[in-house]
């Protein structure tokens, strides 16, 4: 079989994985920083370098993510729905529901026992339920995103937000900071707002256990906990939730080519 790479060029992060004979051997994640093409090259290079490979060794490259549509290189382009589902299935075969929250959208997918999409729902064209707002707020709070989960758990009195719009949430967060509301409470409030919004989307499907959350936002444990409460199911998170799309892209591409 040889080597296969998978790319997920998101609007915020670019992710690359390398497979050797169906085994994940390397991955790399870096911010996209606006230039999709460059990010794709860099992240793939890094992932290959980690296992001492060169581009020429790759038999197939599959790709997904918003950025891919803007790159002229001819990757094998696959929809994100299939990629994430497949990727999560690879890591956790018992999965039946995937909630993927990236920078630009939230998606819910039901999977078949074989790791294909059985049903799916994509959030509408509004930043409210996406990870973007987290990034914005992390700037406002001058706090690393990595801290969000932990901080949120420390909250004593989650702040209430009166708006759903990501832009106005930012404004409100700024005022809260000025008023001296603790960071923890702001983050917890934000997590709650997001969990409510995404939860109502999840409810539109009959979801089943096991339920897995992926995408960068899944790194925020506070949000995951609130989502669990919201949907009444235990939610698992892969160790590397960001790379499930890339994994799926690699697997699906290899499979298609082999058949």
């Amino acid at each position: 079989m040889g080597y296969t790479a998978g790319l997920d060029i998101g609007s915020a992060y670019s992710k690359a994985v390398v497979f050797e004979d169906g085994e994940l051997v390397s991955y790399y994640v870096k911010p996209t920083s606006g230039n999709f093409s460059l990010a794709a090259d860099l992240v793939l290079e890094e992932a290959l370098q980690k296992v001492g490979l060169s581009l020429a060794k790759l038999r197939y490259i599959g790709a997904c993510g918003l950025g891919v549509t803007f790159i002229s290189e001819t990757f094998n382009k696959i929809t994100e729905l299939s990629c994430h589902t497949r990727g999560v299935h690879y890591l956790m075969p018992s999965v039946r529901t995937v909630i993927e929250i990236g920078n630009q959208s939230a998606r819910v997918m039901k999977t078949t026992p074989k790791g294909k999409v059985a049903d799916s729902l994509v959030s509408d064209k509004c930043a409210t339920g996406s990870g973007r707002i987290m990034q914005i707020i992390s700037k406002v709070l001058r706090t690393d995103l990595e801290q969000f989960g932990k901080l949120s758990e420390k909250a004593t009195k989650p702040a209430k937000f009166t708006t759903n719009c990501a832009v106005f949430l930012e404004t409100e967060a700024i005022s809260r900071v000025a008023e001296g509301t603790p960071r923890e409470d702001i983050i917890a409030g934000l997590n709650q707002t997001l969990a409510g919004k995404i939860g109502s989307m999840v409810h539109r499907m009959r979801i089943e256990a096991d339920c897995v959350m992926t995408g960068g936002v899944a790194l925020n444990a506070g949000l995951v906990a609130m989502m669990e409460k919201e949907i009444g199911l235990k939610i698992q998170v892969p160790e590397q939730p960001m790379i499930t799309g890339a994994i799926g892209a690699a697997l699906i591409t290899a499979e298609k080519a082999e058949n």
């Binding site: 606006g34 509004c126 209430k160 990501a166 832009v167 008023e179 409510g196």
Partner: protein, 289 residues
């Protein structure tokens, strides 16, 4: 008789102090987080600029997003009514008003000096001043300049996303594809004009049409709206303060109806203290998410 109107907007706080016939002082200053709590500080400055004290002001009307948190105001009136009054005073022939504020956009219909209908959007940042602030920010240009710049475009970029957050990213993308800032701005203005127009359209637009609020300072937006609507818009010389002006006009009108005794009682109730409008129980803390 001295009166004042204070318009605590979501973004900018505006004050007009008048002697009943002309404007003695007017000012516009950002509604910073600080000012959300300390509205009287802005008022202090305004009063100082025309050498007046609170007690000399017979009647104060507060309006805008933060109107309920002006403890020294004698009356609260919504910004819809105040903008209408302000515009009606400046341009008696205006039948339709478009108000583009920091966090909302509104349409108001006027007939015989009275407002007969209005419409309002405050759910989504698209079509509001905030949108333009964000875009100016990511493109690294001054807010004051984006209007003029957009007018220099020959080939407006297509901006398909109306979500402010995504439009920002789209703008950056277009930039990386080589579109000029002018073209991107023109695209942004066009998209927002069409959004605002379709909202105002529900009111049956009648001439004259005025535009007020901070959005009226954006010439690019004014032109783009004119193109959508099909005729020129009337723009006040100081569009930001129309609401505060309207508030001052209402203040005068009310004050003349009250007896000196009543005015005195009112004044006695004025307080100068810090309040936060997010802590107000009516504003949010009840809200279940």
């Amino acid at each position: 008789m001295f009166v004042a109107g204070i318009d605590i907007g979501s973004t900018i706080t505006k004050i007009v102090i008048s002697n009943g016939t002309e404007i003695l002082a007017s000012m516009a200053t950002p509604t910073s987080a600080e000012h959300r709590r300390l509205a009287f500080r802005v008022m202090d400055d305004a009063l100082a600029s025309c050498f007046l004290s609170y007690n000399e002001i017979e009647y104060i009307v507060a309006t805008g997003y933060g109107r309920i948190n002006v403890p020294f105001a004698d009356q609260q009136v919504t910004e819809i009514t105040c903008h209408m009054r302000g515009i009606n005073f400046l341009f008696p022939n205006v039948r339709t008003i478009i108000d583009i504020g920091g966090q909302d956009s509104k349409g108001i219909k006027v007939k015989d000096g009275k407002q007969v209908d209005f419409i309002m959007n405050d759910k989504c940042a698209a079509g509001t001043g905030r949108f333009f602030e964000q875009i100016a920010d990511v493109l690294g240009v001054k807010l004051e300049d984006i209007g003029e710049m957009s007018l220099r475009s020959k080939n407006p970029a297509s901006i398909s996303s109306l979500c402010t957050v995504f439009a920002e990213q789209e703008a950056l993308l277009r930039l990386s594809e080589g579109a000029s800032i002018e073209d991107i701005l023109a695209g942004i203005h066009k998209a927002n004009a069409s959004r605002i127009h379709s909202m105002i359209g529900k009111l049956k637009i009648e001439q004259d049409v005025a535009i007020t609020g901070g959005g009226a300072k954006n010439l690019g937006l004014v032109r783009a709206l004119e193109q959508r609507i099909g005729f020129p818009l009337v723009v006040p010389p100081e569009p930001l303060i129309t609401g505060a002006l309207g508030a001052a006009l209402i203040a005068r009108e009310t004050a003349t109806k009250l007896t000196p005794q009543q005015l005195k009682e009112k004044k006695a109730k004025r307080r100068l203290e810090a309040v936060t409008f997010f802590d107000d129980p009516k504003r949010g803390s009840e809200i279940v998410l």
